[in-house]
Symmetry: C2
Subunit: 99 residues, 2 copies
DNA sequence: GGTGTTTACGTGGGGCGTAAGTATC
DNA sequence: GATACTTACGCCCCACGTAAACACC
């Protein structure tokens, strides 16, 4: 359960599609797919329904989402605490589901 | 800023010494030293004062500590949410120095 | 056939342990 | 000389991108 996986997770939620999330994070689609696969294996549950038109959050994924965002917010907070704030990477404060 | 680094960080705070923290986490001393080195480089600040009798938290480290613990608590919470609670790895709620 | 995701495969970087080095008492 | 941390070195595993395959419309 690494930071990258959680960022991939929320990015997919934002975009509704893995390939867009991959682009926004600077990865290839398979890399994002792999991240989510790893995350799902770690948690022992499915986080997304795979549909032909994109990826949709499962109930379990919806339960995880707030905590995932909180973790990312805390990590950004730690960076700010130590004077390493990085506002260019779109911190979680204004995150919302696309659409 | 990976989960392992944060666990190493709080373990050192608990133990007051890197080698004890390493033992409690099942790592060698150099591995823990490396983790903290990476964490300090990422944050651009010193987290511990290195003394001949152990490691002492810097003011910056003290600022980071609550957030680090919160992140670990959230990560444990995510595992619980998805039915993968693992109480055997000593979650942060009851952490204390052994003995 | 087009779109979106997954699997396969090869490569590069990171994290570990062991061993040697540095500093303080 | 003992204790605690750091640096050096080598190895293995993980994470990535490219390419091919699969599923659904």
């Amino acid at each position: 359960m690494h930071e990258r996986e959680l960022r991939a997770f929320v990015a997919i939620v934002e975009a509704g599609r893995m390939d867009h999330a991959a682009t926004s994070l600077g990865y290839s689609q398979p890399a994002i797919s792999y991240q989510i696969k790893c995350l799902e294996q770690q948690l022992g549950t499915r986080l997304f329904f795979r549909h032909p038109d994109g990826a949709q959050l499962t109930p379990e994924g919806a339960m995880v989402l707030p905590s995932a965002r909180a973790v990312l917010a805390l990590l950004d907070g730690i960076k700010e605490l130590t004077g390493r704030a990085d506002r260019s990477t779109a911190p979680v404060e204004h995150l919302r589901v696309a659409g």
